[in-house]
Amino acid sequence: MSSLIYTAFSRHLIKHPWQLGLALLGIAVGVAVIVSIRLTQHSAFEAFDIATHTTMGQASHRLVGPKGLVTNEQYQRMVLAFPALPMTPVINQRLTLPEHGRAIELLGIDPISRTKFNPGGKVDRLWFEPEKLISEPRSAIISRTTAAELGLRTGSYLTVNYGPKTARLKIIALLPPPHSPGGLVKGLIIVDIATAQEVLQLYHGISHINLLINDNYTATHLNKTISAAYGDELELLDLAAESRRIKRMTAAFYSNLNALSLMALLVGMFLIYNTETFIILQRRKILGCLRALGVSRRQVLQSILIEASCIGVIGSLGGIILGVFLADSLLGIVSTTINDLYFKTSIDRLSVASTTLFGSFSVGVASTLLAALIPALQATRIEPTLMTNRNSVQPPNIRQICIIAGIIFFLCNLLSWFTLEYSQSPNAGFVGISLVVFGFAAICPLAIIALSAGTRWLLSSQRFLPERHGLRTVSTAVNRTGPASAALMIATAASIGIGIMIMSFRVSVSDWLDTALRADLYVSGEHFDNQSRGVKLSPAFVEKIERLDEVTSTSTVLRQQIKTPSGNVQLSAYKLNAAARQGFQFKVGDSEAIWVQWEDSDVVIITEPYAHHNLLDIGDDLQIKTNTGERRFQIVGIYADYASERGNISMSRNTYDRHWERDDYDGIGIYVAPNVSIADAASSVTAVINANSTIVVNSAAELKQTSLEVFDRTFLITELLRAIAVIVSVIGILGALLAQQLERTREYGVLRAIGFTIPEMGRTILTQTFLLGATAAMIAIPVGILIGVILIEVVNPRSFGWTMIMQIPTALMVKSFAIAVLAALGAGLYPSYRAARIEVTDAMRYE
């Protein structure tokens, strides 16, 4: 008997490939988006780990100096203090390649002491001779990939620049990609530590010391000894903790993407639900016959679920393949964002994690089954009958729909409110969003009925008979049209919500940049990344700038990593003039009161993210390790800052000078005299800068532009995924509506037979699809705004601690509305065309 059911089912599916294809597409896209996001994340982390491993071997800790420099003498003292501890010097610095117009990361190592950091503590001579690297001055190693990019071979020479200093390195070996044993990441050039000092012409020290802390020396013992012997000169970093911290930082970035992928899956589930419902409706006759032939309800349920799981399996497999391809193309974008914001790494290749694939596969199959469950249960209620039951479509019980939809709507929104109110985790925001979306999706059928009734009332004239007919049929077939409309609504709403969030974020950042960048020109030592040191500016240099005729005044900043009980944080010590003070937008705290205490009291102001992450408020004290010992600083203000996710602390330079002894600066803000053009002032400032230094001058406009470029790059992937989700759901909706219209062939025949003209047929069909599109779009707008509100008010503050000014861009609304309606209308075109060409007699015989 089961074989009979399966034969019946499979023949039905083969006869309706549209539906099968649609169901498969729905689930495949949902799975594909999940897979691609997960895989890109996995690849980024793996690339990070490989890069870490290549550059640091098995180092567990790192000793760093306060200015990013450990002197030769400090290294010597450390080695003599811990003669048995594996310790290796490292120099890293970004160099430019004048012949290629790009940069490369120099890594100076000591192959001898590094031996202990190799797997098994053995000399790494798989691909090159360490002796050669040590003994041949200016010899270097790069990866094959980089060599190919630069057109180099073994024996080639490469000119590198460090500021004005030039050196020629000889490539003595090419290493395979990082996933091979002894391989190397690209964009890296490895030299001996002596060569590194010679290239940089910095002979007195190294960048840091890598350590492998084993059982004999616990980190705490070492830490104590180091702080006893070196005070603040050196600081021990736990690399595993650093790596975890760096990976954690990207979590918020990925949570946005993961939410998006869940949304895609939700759309997929609606498509499945839609298809399954439709398939069951079509099979009423077959199912009735089967039941009459003795098939039990359980067998019906079983076979429908088995069919659904087959679709789930095939769809998910397709999704995985699609996802891997998608991930491969997303990798470049993710890589850029991660490099901009989190850590420097080159993601060489997509790393396909089987756990991710298996997990996404399971999610795909499970969602399919879940979506098919309600239609399957409905199918079990079909009574046994051998009668041909043509009028299978029963008008829906509007009362029942109203009650159910109302209850779901109310419960979901209530639950969402509870979640948002009582849970503090950023994930609660996503749960809240899902619930709101689901609640609103439930009222889609209701809205269709209402809108249909309302429009019919408006179009009461006989002239609108085709339209009235169309509206009526949409409303009576609401259990079929509802899910399609809901799916379109979800995709549109998600797109609107994310659009609102990004737009608001961008406007806030742009406003903040406008306020914060008060000076006309900014001079700074070039910063490559968060870790490397910039060139410090000397007091003499600042004086020289101040003496320029074009300059009316300056403000300065010095940045330094400091220790607080909750970890290290960047401290900025500002010398601010009146104009520069205007650049701070205080979210909490009275600016007048702040500026009164600013110079002479031990007070600090902190950024929003810092306050958020450390649960700090004004009036709280912050304990900071200074040169004069542990000191308490009162927090007097919390200000807007979008520059750092971790946040930072600021104090006046006067306050800083009371506790630390430094006379240099990291940056100068220059205020140009009113009658001088900024370009002229910039060239005068550039003239002061020694041609040999790496100091750069930027105008406020340039800085703003660069910042916004980074911002746009960050959200490029979000935008891209959003576009993918919309396009796919539009295609899905198109397919769903199309399938439904095609099923109505007989109805069209009847209409034609009773005298509907071809244009009237078109009007009927287009009215139907327009109504569905319009309903979806109308609900999507408030839902989209709600999603935007939750993202802005809940998710972002909780993930990053950033507040932003909400923007509701009209253009976005109009665009989304138009896309939804056009998608729906588009779905009506082909059926209209077909209906026009229909042979009345054939159509009447259809089914």
Binding site: N72, E73, Y75, Q76, V79, L80, P83, A84, P89, D110, I112, S113, T115, K116, G120, G121, K122, V123, R125, L126, E131, K132, I134, S135, P137, P181, D192, I193, A194, T195, Q197, E198, Q201, Y203, N216
Partner: protein
Amino acid sequence: MNNLNALGTLLITFLSIVAIAVKLLSAADNSWSVAGFLSEGAPPLGFEYAIEPRPFEFPKDHSSHPKFRSEWWYFTGNVNSETGSSFGFQLTLFRFAFRPQATKSNSPWRRSNVYLGHFAISDFTSGVFHNFERQGRPALGLAGVRDKPPRIWIRDWSIELIEAEMGIWQLKAQEAGVVLDVKANSRRPITVQGDQGLSKKSEAPGNASFYYSIPRLAIAGSITTPTGNHQVYGNAWFDHEWSTSALADGQLGWDWFSLQLSDGRDIMFYQIRDRAGRTEAVSHGMLLTKQGVQTALRPEHVQITVTQYWQSPTSNARYPAAWQIRIPTHGISIRVLPRMSEQEWNQSFVYWEGAVVVTGESATEPISGTGYVELVGYN
């Protein structure tokens, strides 16, 4: 069923490929070997070779000879504590040069040498072989050789001649709670090996080293192991050897014996083995009497029979583990046994270097003794 079989075949094939790949990849794990380094290709130009015998000058020759590619200072000894514990110790410092002289540079890291240290304590009472390897770049004074007075060091491991007139050396090394801190007082004169100190390793000219020994030094000092701190006394042997090209192609390794007999005689003999396992004719040694009379030993004078083997569970290398040695010209017939099997080095080089005990007869008198044996090229 057919499908199942096909699936099974596929699975097995896949697993075999994985297994082969893993095997190949792990085989690619290269490590340094002394023999490899010593016979490795042609050294860069500019190094000097040991070709002709040369006069030795002490204490100057105790320090380094940077014009030669490799050099080592080798102390091995057998000691006993007052409480009855017995130990073997080894402190070896190697110097390997990449080029004959360093390139001029402002960087203090620019060096052309690397130092390697091996420090071992064989604790016969507890049966533990403590062994540590250290590498050091002679930059920033963290490793190197000083001339006056001679001192060779890698961080806090050092060999230093503290009293040149009396020939007293100080040996210091410590790692992971294992400490060697002893004075070694020369009991025999400096003894040059081979042909007036030129020790040939193959027939080819230049494949030789300059080599001298102090065959017996009285040890006094302390050894610390996890079992505690021990005041120890005993005998040690000192070798100092430098060369640019020692082994020729086709030479596999060597067996080196240094034995101190109870009747006051000291014996050094090494045999170089070729790939077929045969002893090469250049193998040689010497016998030194208590009175300081030195006799050269040629392969034809010394009959060495391996009576037992030991397979290392770590490297799987199969080492000789008991020898019957006969030197008929001196009436010596002795049995040499490792004081424990587990004295294999398994770090940058794989070799066996361990304390041995000697029993046997000289003419008809029973003799005993201790010593050290080094076995290279068995892995």
